[in-house]
Symmetry: C2
């Protein structure tokens, strides 16, 4: 049928067809020579081997389940974080990775203790809460005071004369993490400056099921430190309605929270040593610490396991790249960033040899690609490498890539940086909650993340030209 | 253009058109005479007045918010249920309803007390739990034992020889309330029969955020009563994985739960007395009691407020139907059905004069219509009345209608029965959880439910012929 149709074409069309064919041939050749020059085609077969290995079993998910089930959550200073570090070192050695080590880092040691919050007037009713990380505690009998509910800092300032002696309740609707997290970070000190005795913050996260979201607060140095806790959307709205009806509401907050002396912790490091330029390093990683609720499976056990599994797969496939790939499971991202700062300080002299740093800390959902920060030449190369991930839909390269842990080294060493980007539509429903558990993670999505990191880091580590040069 | 087209019609078509027109006229006249005879058209204007009034403000939602915010949850025997009863009586009088009264009912008085559950071996970790209603408590120090996780009763029976001395964990995936609730109801006694010392049941509900669902259990008379609690999907799956890995797991369950002597409670009743046949009654209602978590807003504060608001609107509009409409806010649906049984017993002699009983207890979401049980003539009438609700999309009449509270009277009096049917797609995510709070209820959906109940009950109460006769 196709032949018959071609026979019917008028002469003009045949000529146009001929010109197009010649032009196409020339363009195709030019493209071929371009890719050959850059060598990306040489990586198509290795990339398929990596992808196949990542998706060939559930190893990564099972490893994350082991961390989640047997160790659980891992706040800085907790025995569980210590246990996780020892476990990771042990398993990395069993994986046959090189230079496996725990690099000592002193970390803040905040402990939650018992805590509760309840309306005491006009009638007793419990409020579901989680104290905010770094918060001071209350006296043993708690702090009981009338509340002032505000929807924003602007409303707080407008009602500045009503704040003294009150417990301020921030009832700011979640409009995205960026615009809303300021109430968790700065709310306590903003309220304390006006004389508040404690602060309650509507959880920074998507609507849940009476689900509180914890997270760190930052005290300003120049105002008294008042205790602060997250409450749920449901309870914040209830308190708002009661205030709007003109009912005076009293709340009692009890928190045993305290900051203990710094504790010893560690970044866990392992390598696949480069075969030609071992001194040039590509870092991939996540953070091993988590909040003290849930099991820290998405934040960031999964990020750690994804990066680590990428290295494990390369090792198993016997794919030793030109440069060194180093996996780092950072400590203390959540409430201090001490792991990231310690890495920067320890590797001060080697930062110039850091080719790329990649962090996975946005939840472990279906990977869509990477965010990238670096020069234009580096970006062009990354975009080219990403074409190897088109088949798994992880080939999108967005502007801006980085992460809390790699940040200090990236800034100081002006190192190109990347973040694994995933479908984040559900992340902030479980973020920093008791529901951050492994059942929220699809094993195939995790395997796809492993594949994406492995292909990207391998090709960056192996290409003849250094990234961006 | 239409005229031009008609001019071109062949003679035959014109004749067919004429015949069709005549036939159509005759059919239309027949239909008109049918509806006039049944009188449904007479209710189109009143129905629009009712719908307009229901949707004209947020009164019903605000009333439900008052119940939810100021009183909260209302388990049988609790001071809050008493408070809710007094509040409802007071408000009904203010609404100008007739014969407002609280009809004494003795109810079971189960109290939860403090409770907790944790894995103690191989490592300590908390399990999120809610004791099951009616459960006995544990000794003060709790019950600590190895667990046996099963996915079904069939697996329990297959492993009968491994049950003695264990805590049985039912990890049955939720496949709908009907097929799954048996593990909550009967799981404890099924396990006890084989020598188990306690039972944990994966929550009967849709996947949540580490969300436990409570609810009643029923003990068999012939086996020891062992304590039982609901745990979350997340924790049940964790225990399953640990068992599947061959790790022996020990759990400690502590529950102070106990059954106290029966307490005094009441059904709340109010009426719009019929203008011609006051002795013939249409009952509409829901249950005022709730579980002792959340605020019982969807189960079943909203059902109560919907039925009550329907009567309030008719009163305000001055629409006194031929027969009496009686709203009943039943007590103790959740753990005893004593309210429903007491109603049946109290009105024993009047059951023959009960024209219809309607319950709203499936959550307060967008109404879709009604389930109905009754004879064919009654069904035809109900379907006709439902056409008045086509504009609000609540005109679907399904087979089978009823409810726990109206059940005892309906069965004994062979009374036609109805349930308000709503979009139930999200109900079992919050059912019997701390997240059963008013923010889950859309004010317009509630108003639409009020409109549907008000129109249906008014027309049934007002039509010349009694329903089904």
């Amino acid at each position: 049928m196709r032949g018959c149709t071609a026979m019917k074409k008028p002469i003009l069309n045949q000529r146009v067809g001929l010109v197009a064919a010649v032009l196409g041939f020339l363009l195709a050749n030019a493209a071929l020579s371009f890719t050959q020059q850059n060598g990306i085609d040489a990586y198509r077969e290795p990339a398929t081997r990596i992808i196949g290995a990542a998706l060939g079993d559930r190893f990564a998910w099972e490893r994350l389940a082991e961390l989640s089930d047997n160790i659980g959550n891992r706040l800085s200073g907790s025995p569980q974080l210590e246990q996780a570090i020892l476990w990771a070192v042990d398993q990395m050695k069993k994986d046959g990775l090189a230079n496996v080590r725990a690099e000592k880092v002193m970390v803040p040691h905040w402990v939650r203790g018992k805590e509760s919050c309840e309306v005491t007037s006009p009638a007793q009713r419990p409020l579901v809460m989680l104290g905010l990380g770094n918060s001071v505690g209350t006296p043993h009998e708690g702090i009981e005071a009338e509340i002032l509910v505000v929807r924003s800092f602007a409303e707080l300032d407008a009602r500045a004369d009503q704040v003294r002696g009150k417990i301020v309740v921030y009832n700011a609707p979640y409009t995205g993490y960026g615009p809303t997290v300021q109430y968790r970070s700065a709310g306590a000190s903003r309220a304390a400056r006006l004389g508040a005795v404690a602060a309650l913050v509507r959880s920074v996260g998507m609507p849940g099921l009476r689900t509180p979201h914890t997270g760190a607060l930052d005290y300003s140095a120049d105002v008294p430190r008042i205790p602060a806790a997250a409450i749920t959307l449901e309870d914040a709205e209830t308190l708002q309605r009661m205030q709007d009806r003109g009912v005076p509401v009293k709340v009692r907050l009890k928190m045993e929270a305290q900051m203990l002396p710094d504790a010893e912790s560690a970044n866990v490091v392992a390598e696949l040593v480069g075969r030609e330029k071992p001194e040039e390093v590509i870092v991939i990683g996540g953070h091993l610490d988590s909040w003290d609720v849930g099991t820290g499976s998405t934040d960031d056990g999964g990020g750690c396991v994804a990066a680590w599994s990428a290295l494990r797969i390369l090792k198993r496939l016997g794919m030793q790249p030109r440069r060194t790939i180093r996996v780092v499971l950072f400590t203390n991202e959540e409430n201090g960033l001490r792991g990231g700062m310690a890495y920067r300080d320890r590797y001060q002299d080697q930062l110039a040899n850091h080719v790329l740093m990649l962090e996975s800390d946005s939840g472990v959902y279906r990977p869509l690609g990477f965010g990238f920060s670096g020069n234009d030449k580096a970006r062009a190369s990354i975009q080219e490498i990403a074409t190897l991930l088109r088949g798994i839909g992880a080939d999108r390269i967005s502007a801006g890539g980085g992460g809390g842990d790699i940040g200090p080294a990236v800034v100081q060493g002006r190192i190109p940086s990347m973040s694994l980007e995933v479908d984040g539509s559900e992340y902030f429903r479980v973020h920093h909650t008791p529901a951050d558990t492994i059942d929220k993670i699809n094993p195939t999505d995790l395997a796809l993340g492993v594949a994406a990191i492995a292909v990207m880091s391998y090709v960056v580590a192996d290409r003849p030209a250094r990234l961006g040069q």
